[in-house]
Structures are given as C-alpha cells and as structure tokens.
Symmetry: D3
Subunit: 69 residues, 6 copies
C-alpha cells in the first residue's frame, strides 16, 4: 500500500523502550535521505528560507510512525 | 534555545514551492541520523518491533518544522 | 461550540486503558461516516487519487481527540 | 508494509479538491469501524470517560493520511 | 461538548487569510492562560525542565484548531 | 535558531509530571499573546470565522513542544 505521507526514512531499530501505553523507539537512519516539510508561507518569508540554506528538519517524536514489512 | 522535539535532522534546502497559505520545502539529509518515534505499546506488539529490525520512519509533511540559524 | 476540525465520528467507548500520563481509548463507530484528509497535492499525484478509488484513511492514535456531551 | 498508526478506515474517495500545495480529500467510510485515541489520563478523568459512553472521535483534517493499494 | 484536548485559549480573531484549501487565522489571546504539553520523559531530562523555569510553548500552526460558539 | 512553528508562547513551568515514556508539563502564560492557526478554508466558511469574533484556540497537549534557553 502506498501512503500519502511524504517522508519514509529507512533504518534499523536501535532501541525499544515500552511504557504502559506508549513506547519510545530509536531508529538509526544510515543512507542520505530527503525530507518534505509543509510549513506556512509566512514562516518561509520570516526565516528567509531559500535553496542551498543549511537548515534543521524538526519533528516531535509523537508525530513519527513506524512501518515494518 | 533547546527544544523538547526529539528529532533534529541537519540538511540543505533543495526546493521551496510557495502557495498562498502553505509552502512545500524539500530538504536533503546527508549524514546518518537517528529518529525517535513515540508510538503505542500496542503497535510495538502488533508489528513485533525489536532491536535490529529493518523499519521505515513515516512522517506526514505537515508535521515537519524547519529551523534555521 | 463548533470546532474547525473536519472529522467528528460518533461512537461508543469500548475500552479505556489508563497509564500514568496517557490513556488508550477504543471507540466503536457504527454509522457510515465521512472523513476529510488534507494531504499534499504532490501525494494526490503520486498515488493518483481520484473519485471512486478504494482507499484507507490512516490516523495516528495520538492525533485523535475525544468529545463528550 | 504494516504501520504503527492504530487507525486505518477503509472507504471510497468522494471528492478531491486540489490547491497549489495541499489538497482536500473526502472519503466515505461505510462499514462500522473502531478508532483508537491516545489522550491524556487527565482528560479521561476530566471528561469521566468510561466504557459505554457515547462520544465523538475528533480529528483535524491535516492529521489524516491516505493509503492506496 | 467537552473535549479531551487540554488547551483551550480564549481570544479574538485578528486576521483571516484564505487560500484555496487552507486558511491562516490570527487570534489575540489577552488573558493569562495555562498550556499543557505532553513531551517525552527523555526531553524533560535533556532540557532539565523543572518548576519555575522560564520556557516557551512551541506549537506548529497546523496543529491549532478554532472553536466558536 | 529560528523555527518555522508560528506559535511561541513564553511562560513559567508550574508542574512537571513524569511517566515512564512521556511527561505532562503545565506552563503558565502571563503576557497577552497571538496564536496562528492553519485550518481548512471549508471550516472558516462552516464556522463563519471573521475578524472580531470571540473564539477558542484548541490544541491537543501532545502537539505542544517546550523550548528552554
């Protein structure tokens, strides 16, 4: 099944820490990869984001899902 | 400022596409990196996720923020 | 109060599992319903999504809120 | 590929409205289904959520992904 | 209807900017208010977050819903 | 580092409750502030949201991050 989510980063599970309801999973991403971000146009202007800029893609852990074949 | 978000992936902006309200930003991540996912304990059991597994970290583009020095 | 969130699915609580900070709530949705998804235009093209297609609406549990009269 | 996201609601695309960056997709869900919500323990107490309660599962459209075989 | 979302900040609409699919809404919050954040335990340790600390509650605009009586 | 997230509300930590995986952090916001919401154009029409309206900005606790100098 193909998914609309634009980001699928392949990697290997390094650590799994389980709690009663949620779990914290660490995944090592080796290969270079591409990330797509949809942000407000306003923030592109505010941060003056342009091709070639060095940036950081910031993602809250609760927004990351895990897929496994 | 340090942020509680567990994922900060360094990279270079490859493409910026602006719409009236939102913008689509592509970022090339070169270096190996680590991703933290917080998922339900239930899904760890359901997918039988364990250290060493090959997995995919799946992230919707609207959940990705961009940081710039 | 009316809310901007486009999806409100009526149902009955089947299970409540409480942890120290979060809780897992299962809700049985009986009636047919409609889901609205806002995804990237890019993914509509990539998955060639068109009217009549059989699809799956995928939602991470941490993104679901519960309302009660 | 199996995904950690707990909610996968099968349905048929009813409408696709494309903008420059994002698109609004309406999906008709026919069959009865189950929704999993992860909310704070605090809100379970505050709303006194218990098995058998009539509730509404509330989901912002930007949090819904679409999967297609 | 009561909602499980922990944050409801009362304010007045200052600006509404509509695009084809999404809209950007600015809301002025006058009164002092309280924000609840659910973050990883790991980040509480990492940032050494303790009562009395001066902090910033950071929220992506796409995660904010609007309610109106 | 500047961040694309449009909402940064300054405040003081009032309470920190740690669980095995996640933590619940209460933050008191004193000063008046502005919130930006990106919602569907459809919901702006549906709720007839206009400048001057009294509204509530609704945010799920799992969507709030914390920043600390």
């Amino acid at each position: 099944m193909k998914i609309s989510a634009r980001n699928g980063l392949k990697g290997k599970v390094e650590k799994v820490e389980e709690g009663p309801i949620t779990a914290n999973v660490k995944i090592k991403i080796e290969a270079p990869t591409e990330i797509t971000a949809v942000i407000t146009k306003e923030s592109v202007k505010d941060l003056n984001i342009k091709v070639g800029d060095d940036v950081v893609a910031i993602i809250k852990a609760t927004e990351v899902m895990v897929g496994k074949e």
